[in-house]
Amino acid sequence: MVVKGLPERPVANVMMNEGKVNDLIQRWRDTPEEELTPEDREHFMDLACSCLAQGESERLLMFLQDDKNRRMVHSMGCVLLAPLMKEALKNEKSWDRIQSAITHVTTTCGPDEVLRNLLDVMEDTDAPSISETLVQVVPHLEAGLLRLTKGRASWLGSALRVLHKQLTRLPVPYTEEMEKEDQWGLGRCCHALTTFTQAFSGEVRNHEDGERREMKTELLNFCMRSLREPLLEAPLTPGTTTAMWLFASNITATLVAIQESAADLLFFSTMKKNIQMDKNQLAESKGCLAYLVFVKQLDAERFPIVFSPEFVLRRNLEYIHQLLRSKKESHVLKGLALFEKSLERAQDNSLLVTLLEVKSFYDVKQSLLQVLTECPMRHLRESGLTVLQLLINKLDAEAKHKLFGNLLKTSKHPGVEGYIVKNIRNQVEFSMKPGNATRWFLGTEFVSLLRLAFSLPQGTETNVLHDMDKIMESLNLLRYLLIRDKPLRSNADVWEGVCGIKEEYTKMLRVCISMSRFFYTGELNELRDEHKLKARAARASTCTRTHLQSQPVKRDTMSKMSPEVRHQVLQSALVTFDLMESLIARTEEIAAEKNHDRLDASALFCLNEQKKRQMF
């Protein structure tokens, strides 16, 4: 009844009425634990809070440590953990005393309740104080878990989940300086987690009963989650001072300790591992692991070096795709680096066409194209192109032929198509060297590829300016083929095909150019007229103001570019058309010359024959 008589927030009242407080405490001492009500716990907490608020942490500590209160602390002490933790963060002066109080509570109360309360504290923490709270909570969690006699695996699992969840709310540093500065304390948190996991991974290694197996699964889950967040986003520069790298090393060390080899995780994933992540997230985690192993050579001596390069590439494709399709810079960067490393191991011209039929290869190709054509970051596009070239180099002739055809058909991007046409030219050049001839770049199969290289996407209505990159490369290729015509002429069918394609292409391109030229000249004239009109209007507006006001509105609806820029654009378009036409003319010239030479040669031959005949 005394309890009910107390007001809701007794902070001040309690202190004023010391007698009542003593009564209350005495009652708690005498009451058996199961009869203590939630209200009692609340009052107990309020009392402690008011103690702390008045700076009497010393008194609180003595009270808690008093042997007479032992039973009371045991049954209600846990409710103090949250306020004590909070106080420890803001009150540096009495830090030691509060720590002793926390330790006293955590060692006196039942471990289950300690753990539950600690995790509640952790979960209720707001972003700014996450790192400090986490660093503070972790040692007590560890001690609590070690005190448990059973159910350790599930508590470990919940603890790791909560800690990881809070960890991921912290911003990940993206430069080394930021990592060193560690403004948000992510580094400190990772360090705390390292010590925490080490305490349990060692234990798992030496035993193999059901509980340890569960603990192993929990640790594995934690490792996979951590690889995805925060590690995948961090720069991961090797070194002893970079917190993220140290954390990454710890994660791989934990995997070793729980006997989950990186090779099995990455390459033989069909086996059940009880990892509670969805497929894409898991692929991201594994992508990060593959990046650490192959690109950063972390723990490389533990990774078997007996896998064939093509197998490594094939297995990594799935992870590369997952990383490349992300919109985050750090993911794409890691994906490209992993792709590059996976390719480097293969020998040039060694990858067979079967690789192109693998679903994950198709996916990677698509996501690489996306990086090349849509990524707003120049450096990513550039390294994407380097990787594409590396990929091309590693494929054998047939696979190159197929990839080129595929990209010409599906990329729908003149820049990429131009790049492929340039590569076709290089391959033709390579094939013309003695001993390198293949049907894919000189023989019968070559014509089908040429047909794709010399195609205009919308026929005669193609926007020449838009497709300029491809058209220029195609004309370049055409010129090259006509100059180095000898090996191609050796196969009549091929040469006939090449000539047919050339005729058709140049004819159509000429029409395209003249149509585009007509259109752009029209635009240019219109712009000039407009300019004149405007000048006239400006002159007129000196008389009436209304004209001037209506002018800007009109201009706005017509084009966003300023007339000067538009003029320049149109001019340069016309110059481009000239350039293309001169290139076409040049190819025609070469063709005519060659034919002439051949005619000359045959005429000479006839003449010689005649001479011979005359001689006899």
Partner: protein, 457 residues
């Protein structure tokens, strides 16, 4: 310089020793891999191509320098043999071993690390030595994520090209169930349409991994065999696992999507859709799924030039995803239902069927509030949809039911915590020490039960 000479000396010496004692295990007999027995196997059983073998190994250079060793890592090494996962020397060498055998393989660079070597560890163009112990092997490799198709290869194929969906294949089949041969025949079928010829799904799905000339044994779980219905013609009961020996004699590949233009794709898509619908009606949901997925994979990345074409593409995609959702509902793979419905809803936010089917899937997944939201959207689109009305009331009653269940669980949980605390408290207090244990526990449980009843009411 001297070290180089030493190296080649050693190499020559080793080669000589091996040539004297060892046998050449390469198919070409080019002395590329020479094997010397150290211990013979137990039972004479050799792994087949595709089997998952577990070994211990030590790799060293001819100088004796160890570069990789599984024993140092204290973990054995597993891989699928003969599948190009590892160095060529291993694929060939391990296939020649018996269970329990220990041998040493001397491998020339072209069967090992080639002209590139391995940075830091193996110089270019090095011959290497592997000591291998074949610990064990598991039969076959799994071809699907769910492990429903397991293959062992008896004879390796001679070409590297595999049939794709739509290929016409000529095969010889021998199906058996509980070691009773029920089906021997030569048959030709279209991959993805095997059902028409009474060939089970598993054989169909394995085709794109089988090479021409290959002879393999497929172990099919009933999902990939004849399913819940069984096959009366072959006297196969429901939910029976079956084994098929398949020889791929010949095949004609279908065109790859990128080899076709949009016209062709659209034309074929309507045929495939028809086929899918037939399978659906006949209850062959997995076969129907394959058909619809083909359409999606073809048209997903296409953009029609003309408005009309674009509309056709969209229509195909919509109907395929809707049909896929329906199939997965029948198969009871609800996350895939949601995925497909989402795709439809992305294209057409007020698609009644998609919303309804998503709701259905979510209801089955116990996501009641999400399901309810979907059915309410259905009613926004079409207020006259009676089924949706009905589903909403189902949602409501289920939610209530679930809520009750929740309450019960939580009630138990708090009770349990409280009890444990009480118990711990008592131990500490050393009160009633003699009677504690069993009696107290019993009391606790009884009290909890009565509490249960209370919370239920």
């Amino acid at each position: 310089m001297t070290t180089d000479q030493d190296l080649s000396m050693d190499g020559a010496l080793a080669a000589a020793v091996f040539a004297a004692k060892g046998i050449d295990v390469t198919p070409k007999k080019d002395q590329g891999i020479i094997k010397v027995f150290k211990r013979h196997g137990h039972d004479g059983e050799c792994p087949m191509i595709g089997d998952r073998v577990t070994i211990h190994y030590t790799g060293s250079l001819l100088t004796g320098k160890k570069f990789d060793c599984s024993r140092d890592r204290k973990e054995s090494f597993s891989f699928n043999v003969g599948k190009g996962q590892v160095l060529k020397a291993w694929d060939i060498g391990v296939l020649s071993m018996q269970r329990g055998e220990v041998c040493t393989l001397l491998c020339k660079p072209e069967y090992a690390y080639g002209s590139a070597g391995n940075p830091d560890k193996i110089p270019p163009n090095s011959s290497v030595l592997f000591e291998i112990e074949l610990l064990k092997f598991e039969l076959g490799e799994t071809l699907t994520d769910d492990g429903g198709i397991i293959r062992r290869i008896k004879v390796k194929g001679d070409s590297y090209l595999n049939p794709n969906d739509g290929s016409v294949v000529d095969v010889h089949l021998e199906g058996s169930c509980d070691s009773r041969l029920f089906d021997i025949r030569d048959v030709s079928f279209v991959v993805s349409e095997s059902e028409d010829k009474g060939v089970p799904l598993g054989v169909d799905r394995a085709m794109d991994k089988i090479q021409k000339g290959e002879c393999c044994i497929l172990y099919l779980s009933s999902k990939y065999g004849f399913g819940r219905k069984g096959k009366p013609e072959f006297e196969i009961g429901p939910d029976k696992d079956v084994v098929y020996e398949v020889t791929l004699k010949d095949f004609k590949r279908a065109k790859e999507p990128w080899e076709m233009d949009l016209h062709e794709k659209l034309k074929l898509a309507s045929e495939i859709k028809h086929k899918g619908n037939q399978y659906y009606k006949a209850g062959h949901y997995y076969h129907a799924v394959i058909q619809y997925q083909r359409i999606v994979s073809w048209l997903e990345m296409e953009f029609g030039k003309a408005l009309e074409q674009q509309k056709m593409i969209n229509d195909f995609l919509l109907s395929s995803h809707l049909n896929l959702a329906l199939c997965f509902l029948r198969i009871q793979d609800f996350s895939l239902v949601v995925e497909n419905c989402n795709k439809v809803i992305n294209l057409d936010a007020s698609n009644e069927k998609a919303l309804y089917r998503r709701g259905e899937a979510r209801l089955r997944r116990n996501e009641f509030s999400l399901a309810m939201a979907d059915f309410q959207l259905v009613l926004q689109v079409n207020p006259a949809n009676r089924a949706a009305h009905h589903q909403i009331s189902t949602c409501q009653s289920k939610m209530k039911e679930y809520h009750e269940l929740d309450k019960k669980t939580y009630a138990n949980m708090f009770q349990k915590f409280a009890e444990r605390d009480t118990k711990d408290g008592r131990t500490k207090r050393k009160r009633d020490e003699s009677v504690r244990s069993s009696k107290n526990n019993e009391l606790g449980i009884k009290r909890r039960r009565s509490q249960d009843r209370l919370s239920c009411q």
